[in-house]
């Protein structure tokens, strides 16, 4: 397949993200990467679980967490997962405009999530003087949730730069895999969050 074919938006097969060898490589490689990420987050979760009662006279999880905000955050992120599925749906139908639109919605929801998280941290630090240095629990909490937050930030940057870069030239076999793995990444962020709200927040107030 020549370069022209790859960059030409007209030639779109059914699974554009896996039509070229480069695309296949990216797709498989990214899944492998997610396998590694699973271990990464598991290490953080494990550390958190080991230290979640080590509050050392500081604030404990029961005193800190409020479920309302967490519920809103969860809804935002879950919904953004669905919207990115919509984006991929339109990618498969070769409808670039709609894909960009749904990705835009995804980004907006992600930003909403991030805003809540920043508010939450701000609240803990200034309202409760609960920081990374308060106790081992504090260190573990901020590190786990912060790592996830960092992933959200990176994911948003990634999707946004893809959207801007390709706004003019539409979908092609060169960038379809990029879009696809960005959306995989976004789902993975959601996967991690499901465990965070369960293990950190829900189990934290029990």
């Amino acid at each position: 397949m020549s370069d022209q074919d790859i960059l030409n938006p007209k030639h779109m097969p059914h699974n554009p993200e896996k039509a070229t060898l480069e695309g296949k490589n990216k797709f498989i490689g990214f899944w492998f990467f997610l396998g590694g990420e699973t271990v990464l987050f598991a290490s953080l979760f494990g550390t958190y679980l080991a230290l979640r009662n080590s509050v050392n006279d500081g604030k404990s999880s029961e005193e800190l967490f409020g479920l309302g905000l967490v519920f809103i955050m969860t809804m935002l992120l879950l919904t953004s997962s669905l919207t990115s599925v919509y984006a991929m749906y339109h990618m498969k139908n070769n409808d670039f405009k709609k894909m960009q639109l749904w990705l835009g919605i995804t980004v907006a929801l992600g930003l909403g999530f991030l805003a809540c998280e920043i508010y939450e941290f701000y609240h803990y630090i200034h309202g409760y003087h609960f920081t990374m240095r308060s106790s081992a629990f504090g260190s573990a909490f901020y590190t786990l949730v912060g790592f996830h937050g960092g992933h959200v930030v990176f994911g948003l940057l990634w999707i946004v730069s893809l959207m801007i870069r390709n706004a003019k030239r539409g979908l092609n076999l060169y960038n379809a895999p990029k879009y696809y793995i960005a959306s995989l990444y976004w789902h993975f962020i959601d996967v991690v969050w499901v465990f965070i709200f369960t293990v950190v927040y829900l189990m934290g107030v029990l």
Partner: protein
């Protein structure tokens, strides 16, 4: 661009070529040179350690410096010498063995190397800023979190950066092997070195994240006042030990499995037989990889985990002896009935079998938890792991070096000098480490800067030091051999050893596009299959056509340099927050290069059919 024989270029352009290369064969050479350098550095540190221990209460180095020496010796050897040297051979050989034109992600391949390289430099910067890391290569908290100065910070950031490079390399090889095999190269026809690369890459993928997290936690403790390992803040230092060994035990199999692969290739080549029990060998490799994740706590028998955990981990650890034994016996039976030719590469391989068996057996002895209460943290453990690491990994690397040198450079290392190196190193090795088993049992703990007089430890340590000096001599002969070969080595053809696998089917050194036509693989030991049917070359799987090649890129080195710079910012902000600017600069550089990379389309170039034809005519 498609002028293949780019001979007679200036030094500047050759350097530029290597800095920007994404060709797996050149990256292999980069890994070989950098890893070789760090091996010499680590070896020098080892010699200093041994010299300090030549007599009781010696004062060759101070206590603090000794601790830096052992820490940096261990860290350098494992992360900066052994692993990169392994990557050197993986890069040089694996794409050739599976009939691929390159790895799956050439750009990332280069990035992986440069990350490792700058990480390695970072680790060693400590020497010049008032003290390198001094908490052991295992960096147990709280010694590491309370260690003064910046040594341990360099350890943390250096490993973090080079670890990222390793992870990238691992994913790259996984995808290469899954997706890039030539037609007919089924999984069960892959040469064993490719198989071990595959399994090892999976181990890297699952083991390194645990180290990454551990290092982050340590960084937060040391640099940002977090309390993960700080008992006063409710932290728990044992968490570090778990994270480190969840990574650390698979790590030792990451080191040894490729060596197993190398030995498998060499044994079958030089006894002119196909590998005995190929299927069992593959199965054993996978099983070792799998079991490798379930035994990490055997490094922690004395931590106080309780009898249940100790018993479980003891038994699980012993289980690994079974697949490893399968390998040993299969090698022996490959030799059985063969036509064994004693080249240097084969000598290293043959020396490996009894040496590694000894090391593995002491491993099983260590696995017996209650006996380990005595061995643990004594020289018995030092002896064990040098038997498996030097006797397994280093022997393997030396064997691979002699075996694949012709393929990588097109010349032949001198066999006479090679054998001299072998005997010096081999005898020196056993002198150094055999006696250490007894030293350990006689009550000499490891990481001891001095030992007291009158403890019957003098003679053993003396012998050990003499052995280390012999190893040093052997290494110097090897260096001489390499220099000699580079100056006036004899040129060799594509297949100097009468090889069996694909890499020997093309010229030495391989053309930059590897295979003119992707070959069709018709069985295990693909080249041997063709040879035994009387054919000269490989059966092509496709007509001659244009070859697509990736472009070189300067971005990987810049990106890695950005992280390197940011590392200093992270460390020194603990003294003065104005250093934070360095973080922004460094991260800025890295993110900017990432952005350039993702925004600029890089579709590579094509070598045209006509050019390939022309070359064939030459």
């Amino acid at each position: 661009m498609s002028t293949i024989a780019a001979n007679k270029r200036g030094f500047g352009s050759a350097l530029w070529d290597y800095i920007t290369t994404v060709d797996h064969k050149k990256i292999a050479i980069l890994y070989l040179v950098a890893g070789g350098f760090f091996f010499l550095l680590g070896g020098l540190e080892a010699l200093a350690i041994r010299w300090q221990l030549i007599q009781p209460m010696n004062d060759f180095v101070s206590a603090g410096f000794y601790n830096e020496l052992i820490t940096m010796h261990g860290t350098t050897m494992i992360f900066l010498a052994a692993m990169p040297l392994i990557f050197a051979f993986m890069n040089a050989v694996v794409p050739l063995q599976i009939g691929a034109r390159d790895v799956a992600f050439p750009f990332l391949n280069s990035l992986g190397f440069w990350l490792f390289f700058f990480g390695g430099i970072m680790l060693n910067v400590g020497w010049f800023t008032g003290g390198a890391a001094d908490a052991g290569w295992t960096a147990y908290a709280p010694l590491s979190t309370t260690s003064a100065g910046e040594g341990v910070d360099y350890y943390v950031l250096g490993l973090q950066i080079s670890g990222a490079g390793t992870l990238i390399a691992g994913i790259n090889f996984l995808v290469t092997i899954v997706n890039m095999r030539a037609p007919g190269m089924t999984y069960m026809r892959m040469p064993l070195f490719t198989w071990t690369t595959f399994v090892v890459s999976a181990l890297i993928l699952f083991a390194f994240p645990a180290l990454t997290v551990g290092l982050f936690l340590m960084m937060f403790d040391r640099l940002f006042g977090a309390g993960f390992f700080n008992a006063d803040m409710g932290g728990n230092s044992v968490i570090w030990q778990h994270l480190f060994w969840i990574f650390g035990h698979p790590e030792v199999y990451i080191l040894i499995l490729p060596a197993f692969g190398i030995f498998s290739e060499i044994i079958s080549t030089f006894s002119k037989k196909r590998l005995f029990g190929y299927t069992a060998m593959v199965f054993a490799t996978v099983l070792i990889g799998f079991l490798g994740f379930m035994v990490w706590a055997h490094h922690m028998f004395t931590v106080g985990m309780g009898p249940a955990a100790n018993a479980i981990f003891a038994v699980a650890t012993m289980a690994i002896a079974v697949p490893t034994g399968i390998k040993i016996f299969n090698w022996l039976f490959t030799l059985w009935g063969g036509n064994i030719k004693l080249t240097t590469a084969m000598l290293w391989t043959l020396a490996f079998i009894p040496t590694f068996t000894l090391g593995g057996m002491t491993g099983v002895m260590l696995a017996a938890a209650t006996a380990d209460y005595q061995y643990h943290d004594s020289y018995f453990v030092v002896a064990h792991f040098h038997y498996v690491i030097v006797g397994g990994v280093v022997f393997g690397l030396f064997a691979g070096l002699h075996y694949w040198w012709p393929k990588m450079f097109g010349t032949m290392l001198n066999e006479k000098l090679g054998k001299l190196t072998f005997w010096l190193f081999f005898i020196g090795f056993h002198l150094t480490f055999f006696i250490q088993h007894f030293l350990g049992l006689m009550g000499m703990p490891r990481r001891y800067w001095v030992y007291l007089e009158d403890q019957n430890l003098d003679l053993g340590n003396f012998i050990s030091t003499i052995g280390a000096l012999m190893m040093g001599l052997g290494t110097i002969v090897l260096l001489y051999n390499i220099v000699l070969t580079c100056i006036k080595g004899e040129k060799v053809g594509g297949d100097p050893w009468d090889g069996r696998t694909l890499e020997w089917a093309i010229s030495s050194p391989a053309p930059f596009y590897n295979f003119k036509q992707t070959p069709l693989i018709r069985g295990l030991d693909a080249l041997w299959v063709e040879k035994s049917e009387g054919r000269k070359g490989l059966t092509p799987a496709e007509p001659l056509g244009d070859i697509h090649m990736p472009n070189g890129s300067i971005l990987p080195i810049i990106m890695s340099f950005g992280f390197f710079v940011a590392g200093f910012g992270f460390i020194y902000q603990k003294y003065d927050l104005s250093w934070l600017t360095l973080i922004f600069i460094g991260m800025g550089i890295s993110l900017a290069t990432m952005l350039i990379r993702s925004v600029k389309d890089d579709l590579g170039f094509h070598i045209h059919k006509e050019d390939l034809d022309k070359e064939a005519g030459e």
